[in-house]
């Protein structure tokens, strides 16, 4: 689940204060998280092919877009029969999160020169941000960012290709299974934001429910995929004053 919801720092284990063990603990956590997240690319590769992309397009998305929630949103809209603009729009909406992460990471990474900044930017996602901000100091934060980024990048792309090539061999029952996996994947991405103890979980729940209701209500009337983008706009407009109050 590259670049998906949840709060940076939440699932990171504590790093002991001793420098050497702190370094190896950071490495171990970064590689462990990378492997776990990378495996999930199988689901994306299969979903992308199910939505009508060919395996190379699926792989191109993981190589070039490299932010899981946006990738799932794009193929989700296409799979529902949506148009090009709706698909791109929903991917970009979810991608705005990474901009905020970049702002948070910029002082820590302090990438010198355009080339290094351009390289670092590609790996600014949920997990690398989580690992970097959870590290005990700046140097370990940078280490965590690069190691997590490299591990996830390799795993996510390799497993995307596996999922995309494997999807072609699916029968009707496997297709039914895959159809159920995609909404479950979105729910799993959403869940950490709604869980008790998450920041403003109550507001997040109302926002998520609002998005779902508006999208379903619009489904018969607008082209596929557009209802998803409209739902976000509607909830943003309707919810703003109230979320302010709750935020207090």
């Amino acid at each position: 689940m590259v670049g998906v919801g949840g709060d940076p720092g939440r699932r990171i284990t504590r790093v002991p204060g001793v420098p050497r063990s702190a370094r190896s603990a950071t490495l171990r956590d970064a590689v462990g998280l990378g492997v776990a997240v990378g495996l999930y690319g199988v689901a994306f590769g299969a979903a992308a092919v199910g939505a009508g992309l060919d395996p190379w397009q699926a792989l191109a998305m993981s190589l070039l877009m490299f932010t899981g929630a946006s990738q799932f949103a794009l193929v989700g809209v296409l799979g529902a029969g949506g148009g090009a603009l709706a698909a791109i729009g929903s991917a970009l909406l979810l991608g705005t999160r990474n901009t905020v992460y970049g702002v948070r990471l910029a002082p820590m990474l302090a990438p010198r020169g355009r080339l290094r900044r351009a390289g670092a930017a590609h790996w600014v996602i949920d997990e690398t941000t989580a690992m970097a901000v959870a590290a005990p100091d700046r140097e370990l934060g940078r280490l965590a960012f690069w190691v997590t980024g490299a591990t996830i990048y390799l795993g996510w792309n390799a497993t995307t290709l596996v999922g995309a090539l494997g999807a072609g061999a699916l029968g009707a029952m496997a297709q039914a299974a895959l159809d159920s996996v995609v909404p479950a994947a979105f729910l799993a991405l959403l869940w950490p934001r709604l869980r008790r103890g998450a920041p403003e979980a109550g507001v997040q729940r109302r926002v998520a429910l609002g998005g779902a209701v508006v999208a379903l209500a619009l489904t018969p009337f607008v082209p596929a995929g557009v209802q998803v983008v409209l739902a976000v706009v509607a909830v943003a407009l309707a919810g703003r004053p109230r979320t302010r109050e709750v935020a207090g």
């Binding site: 919801g5 689901a43 009508g52 992309l53 397009q57 191109a60 877009m65 949103a73 794009l74 296409l78 799979g79 090009a84 698909a87 791109i88 929903s90 970009l92 979810l94 991608g95 901009t99 905020v100 992460y101 970049g102 702002v103 910029a106 900044r117 670092a120 930017a121 590609h122 600014v124 009707a172 029952m173 039914a176 299974a177 159809d179 159920s180 996996v181 995609v182 909404p183 479950a184 994947a185 979105f186 729910l187 991405l189 959403l190 934001r193 507001v203 926002v207 998520a208 998005g211 779902a212 999208a215 379903l216 489904t219 018969p220 209802q227 998803v228 976000v232 943003a236 919810g239 302010r244």
Partner: protein
């Protein structure tokens, strides 16, 4: 959608997502730390994911549809509530959808 259009969607979407990342490392922090911007960014994912869950689980070709996907979603919700790992949630949801397909024909 033609192969050419699909490639365009993939490449334009990827370029846009990359520019959003690059902007974060490049713009003055004050721009993005504006409270209104932070609020929107905090809540857009929930609205979007909520909408995607609903559309993926309960619609097909512009109509509301009830099928095995909703059963899979319910199973996924239960698994998530029990704090099952991500991959387990997906496997259980897929198994539930496949089961409904077999039972229901």
């Amino acid at each position: 959608m033609s192969t050419g259009t699909l490639w365009t969607v993939v490449l334009v979407g990827a370029a846009g997502c990359y520019l959003l990342k690059y902007a974060g490392l490049s713009v003055p922090a004050a721009w993005v730390q504006h409270p209104a911007v932070v609020r929107v960014v905090d809540f857009v994912p929930a609205a979007l994911l909520g909408a995607l869950v609903a559309v993926q689980a309960a619609t097909s070709d512009g109509a509301l549809v009830v099928d095995g996907r909703l059963v899979g979603l319910a199973v996924a919700a239960l698994a998530l509530a029990l704090r099952a790992p991500f991959i387990v949630v997906l496997v259980l949801a897929g198994a539930a959808g496949a089961l409904v397909h077999v039972v229901g024909g």
